[in-house]
């Protein structure tokens, strides 16, 4: 713990921090361009100069380790002069195009030029001009604005793990380039955030808004089960962009491209008014009253067994609770939230959570990935695995598809038989797990959403127990979900009741006619043509597969349009907030179910969000702990059974299109075209 003097005040800082961080701890902000807390130190912008005792020149504070007895001044005439000089050099080749620059208003260079800029130019030569570079559908480049901080190069190589961006040439002729290739990374959107100037800007967002005219709403992402913390920027009710919000235990300060750029899907194919199928078989616009009446009429006289309900992948906990209670009033046990048919949820909570926690990955020393491709299913989690890998001493084994996770993995095999070998200790990787102090296993939906899913789950449990993954204060058993709603649904018990049918059962019943009415709560991810014989009520926000099969459509709200509670794959309860109102006549999802319940006879016992949340907590007390994790009890789950021979396949084939919002997003379509289709053509497989 070095103690040093900063601007005459003594401050004690942790071992290993640099002078810049020490100054921050002491409460002095140091201007910087190239330095970033989560990247390696480059020290090439020279903006963070401070004065140090016994140093004849100012020192670059980001590059100087804080030492005992240092005396540092951050605001002397020498420092100001040095920084003004650096700023003048930076501005020599920086164009004066702030009025047409998308970074304007949130630009580090702009802000710091206010403090250290010279008010006129002494430079009379020609400014440098650099040709634009092609970086794919998400990043727009205006390279003349680049100040060569190299943050983008370091981010791509270190955090994203794709070495595709670099600096060619030297001195004044240095240029940041990707050699005209799109950056094939699911984290590339973050390059725009870390660029301190307007050289890399967001292509979909180009010229559409200024930061000061946007309303910022802190919220939670639902594109995958990580629950990245986001900030939704809206103008009116229009979501202009999505930015990451700092949460050290979930997404640090990054988000993946789907989270960031799928928001333009919120503008297309929206359900904004109720529809009811008329006698001619065509969907016709209706009022809420007509829609509810039609449903109530259909449900009249039906027994609970004839009704089924399926909850979708992006539902908030409130609406799923309302759906469960609504089905309760109808007396129906046919209820399921596992659209993909994963064999989880029966048994202890620890059996369907990512127990290690995302931040906990950094403590692990061996990992077995089973039937999952975290890079496609949960890109932020993969970034965490990579971060752990780069620290060294971390072995990753893969059972499932062959894949490139940006770090070194050991491919063990394709299917359950390999997993069995590992469990029996016959596979060499078993030795690695045995020797590891904190090993972990990750079961993906590719391993669980299949016939023998329950047996795989039991086998995973056996591995966890026999290799010492479950210890005091360490639980290495993990299930990685792909659906943001899944854990909340399982916590609330949206599972078939006694004698009830699961998703497959409901679909079969609908085909044979045993199920008369199916209620889809934003559920689109299965073959909806199997519902042709049944009366389908679809409540959701997009005209996707479910809406096409529906007889009554009730327009709901998307995740940016409601105050909802989401539980991520770790079991972390987080709140999403309303950023803009739902379009047209669409309403909050739980309130639709509440209104419908009044028509069918038995109104649900809550009239406002507070009461719904009260009921949530009564149903599952984990909902009372917002953003706090409590270790789940290690109790029984999984059923031993016969293992199949099928290889495990990741459920996410196309990272950019996994849900109704991203499927309707133009940006995601462009990404699919740029990144997914060429690979399919090249390999001839559907990877």
């Amino acid at each position: 713990m070095p103690t040093l003097e900063i601007d005459g005040k003594e401050v004690t800082v942790p071992q290993g921090v640099n002078v810049l961080q020490a100054c921050e701890i002491a409460g002095h902000e140091i201007p910087r361009f190239c330095y970033h807390e989560r990247l390696s130190i480059a020290g090439n912008c020279r903006m963070c100069l401070v004065e140090m005792e016994r140093s004849p020149k100012p020192i670059a504070s980001c590059h100087m380790p804080a030492q005992d007895g240092m005396k540092v001044w951050t605001d002397t005439e020498m420092v100001r002069k040095a920084r003004r000089g650096v700023m003048e050099f930076l501005l020599i080749n920086h164009p004066l195009d702030c009025p047409i620059c998308d970074q304007g208003g949130e630009c580090d260079l702009q802000d710091q030029a206010m403090a250290y800029g010279f008010d006129r130019s002494r430079y009379e030569e020609n400014k440098r001009a650099v040709p634009e570079k092609e970086m794919g559908p998400l990043i727009k480049t205006i390279m003349t604005r680049c100040i060569h901080c190299t943050r983008c190069i370091r981010f791509a190589a270190e955090v994203a793990g794709v070495e595709e961006i670099g600096a060619v040439g030297r001195g004044e002729h240095m240029e940041i380039t990707t050699l005209e290739q799109a950056i094939d990374s699911e984290l590339s959107g973050n390059l725009v955030d870390i660029c301190p100037v307007g050289a890399l800007t967001s292509r979909p967002y180009a010229f559409s808004a200024r930061p000061w005219e946007l309303r910022k709403t802190p919220s939670v992402d639902v594109m995958d089960a990580v629950g990245s913390n986001i900030r939704v920027d809206t103008r009116g009710r229009d979501v202009m962009r999505v930015l990451p919000r700092l949460h050290e235990d979930v997404n640090e300060e990054w988000i993946d491209d789907k989270t960031r750029h799928a928001c333009d899907g919120l503008r297309r194919q929206r359900l904004d008014r109720p529809f009811v199928r008329n006698k001619k078989g065509r969907l016709e616009e209706a009022t809420w009253d007509e829609a509810f009446t039609a449903i109530a009429k259909r449900l009249k006289g039906k027994t609970g067994e004839q009704v089924g309900a399926i909850a979708g992948d992006q539902c908030d906990a409130e609406s799923m609770l309302a759906l469960r209670d609504f089905m309760g009033t109808l007396g129906s046990p046919n209820l399921d939230c596992r659209q993909d048919g994963a064999k989880i949820g029966q048994g202890a909570r620890a059996g369907y959570l990512f127990n290690t926690t995302i931040a906990g990955i950094e403590e692990a020393d061996a990992c077995l990935l089973v039937g999952t491709n975290p890079r496609r299913e949960a890109a932020m989690l993969n970034a965490r695995l990579r971060k752990r890998f780069l620290k060294g001493g971390f072995k990753v084994g893969v059972v499932g598809e062959q894949m490139d996770l940006t770090y070194q993995t050991e491919y063990l095999g394709a299917g359950p038989e390999t997993l069995q070998q590992v469990a029996d200790g016959k596979h060499p990787f078993a030795e690695t797990l045995k020797n590891a102090e904190k090993p972990m296993i990750v079961l993906g939906q590719g391993a669980l959403a299949r016939e023998d899913g329950a047996a795989v789950l039991a086998l995973g449990r056996q591995i966890a127990e026999s290799f010492g993954m479950v210890q005091e204060a360490w639980n290495g058993f993990n299930v990685l979900h792909t659906a943001a709603a899944r854990v909340a649904g399982l916590d609330l018990g949206l599972l078939p009741g006694t004698g009830g049918r699961d998703v497959e059962g409901i679909l079969q019943g609908a085909e044979t006619g045993e199920i008369d009415t199916v209620y889809l709560l934003a559920a689109d991810e299965f073959d909806t043509s199997r519902l042709d014989n049944a009366f389908v009520v679809y409540q959701g926000h997009h005209g996707d597969a479910g809406a096409h099969a529906a007889d009554v459509i009730l327009p709901g709200a998307a995740y940016t349009e409601k105050n909802g509670t989401y539980v991520n794959t770790e079991g972390r309860v987080q709140l999403g907030r309303l950023a803009g109102f739902p379009p047209g006549e669409a309403r909050d999802d739980w309130s639709i179910l509440r209104a419908l319940s009044a028509y069918t006879g038995q109104a649900l016992p809550y009239d406002n969000l507070g009461q719904v949340r009260q009921k949530l907590i009564e149903t599952a007390d984990t909902f009372a702990r917002i953003d706090q994790l409590a270790p789940a009890e290690w109790e029984a789950f999984g059923t031993r059974g016969k293992l199949g021979g099928e290889p495990f396949r990741s459920p996410v084939a196309n990272f950019y299109m996994t849900d109704p919002i991203s499927r309707n997003s133009e940006t995601m379509a462009r990404c699919t075209e740029a990144f997914i289709l060429p690979k399919r053509e090249a390999t001839g497989t559907h990877g």
Binding site: A157, V162, E163, V168, T178, Q181, T406
Partner: protein, 250 residues
């Protein structure tokens, strides 16, 4: 790529596009020598020698295919090798002439008339810095100090031969020689041995007078072998030049 080993994967990148570039057997021999110097998991350290070998094999310049071929051998991201190849000035990205004139213009050479040399070459060849003559024979490059300041002004040819003590006339004569297909003798063009003063040593000639201590130089007769050889070569060159000019005049 069986001839080199693999190292741990830490990033993902697109596969290199090597085109039809490949090392010849001779290049492989040199490359293996370079690779053997570094541990297997740090073989990226051999990137600069390998680029150099590729450049030599490829008539003095690096193409995109050659750069990516080196990336493939070293399992580096292609962009990293591109960064190196574009950073260093001795890697040529365009095909140079058969005779690359690299004229020093750092302070000592400049003071001794490098600007005149440069102007003479430019007018003689009709090309500017960084250009190649139309017949592809000469290319001109301004370079910084090459460490032969005692013999300033000087130029380097094809990255190896130093031509020193230049004057505009000498440089023009040299160019004529290359045009005629001859290779002029490198070294001082004014008859100096190494970087000795003109007309022999001027200091430490009177060591005996001061009763110098023992040692190889004590009696003033010992001359190191290198100096002896250089003097002999210079004398021979002088003789040849003298006889040939005599013949020419007669």
């Amino acid at each position: 790529m069986s001839r080199v080993t693999t190292h741990p994967k830490v990033t993902s990148f697109r596969p290199p596009e090597t085109g039809d570039f490949a090392f010849t057997e001779a290049s492989w021999k040199e490359a293996e020598f370079a690779l053997a110097k570094y541990p297997e998991d740090h073989k990226a350290s051999a990137v600069m020698p390998l680029l150099w070998i590729a450049q030599r094999q490829n008539q003095g310049h690096l193409t995109r295919a050659a750069i990516e071929y080196v990336a493939q051998i070293l399992e580096m991201a292609p962009i990293r090798v591109h960064e190196i190849a574009t950073f260093y000035t001795m890697y040529n990205l365009e095909k140079p002439g058969k005779v690359q004139l690299q004229i020093c213009r750092t302070t000592p050479c400049m003071l001794r008339g490098a600007d005149d040399i440069l102007a003479a070459v430019k007018t003689k060849l009709g090309i500017d810095d960084g250009e190649v003559t139309e017949d592809g024979l000469f290319s001109l490059m301004e370079v910084e100090c090459l460490g032969a300041c005692c013999n300033a002004p000087m130029m380097q040819v094809n990255n190896e031969a130093y031509y020193e003590d230049l004057t505009p006339e000498i440089v023009e004569r040299l160019i004529d020689d290359w045009r005629a297909g001859k290779t002029p003798t490198p070294g001082s063009q004014q008859g100096r041995a190494g970087s000795e003063p003109e007309g022999g040593p001027t200091v430490l000639t009177d060591v005996q007078d001061y009763g110098a201590a023992d040692g190889p130089y004590a009696n003033g007769t010992f001359v190191p072998a290198e100096v002896r050889r250089a003097r002999a070569a210079a004398a021979q060159a002088d003789n040849e030049a003298g006889t040939s000019s005599d013949k020419g005049s007669s």
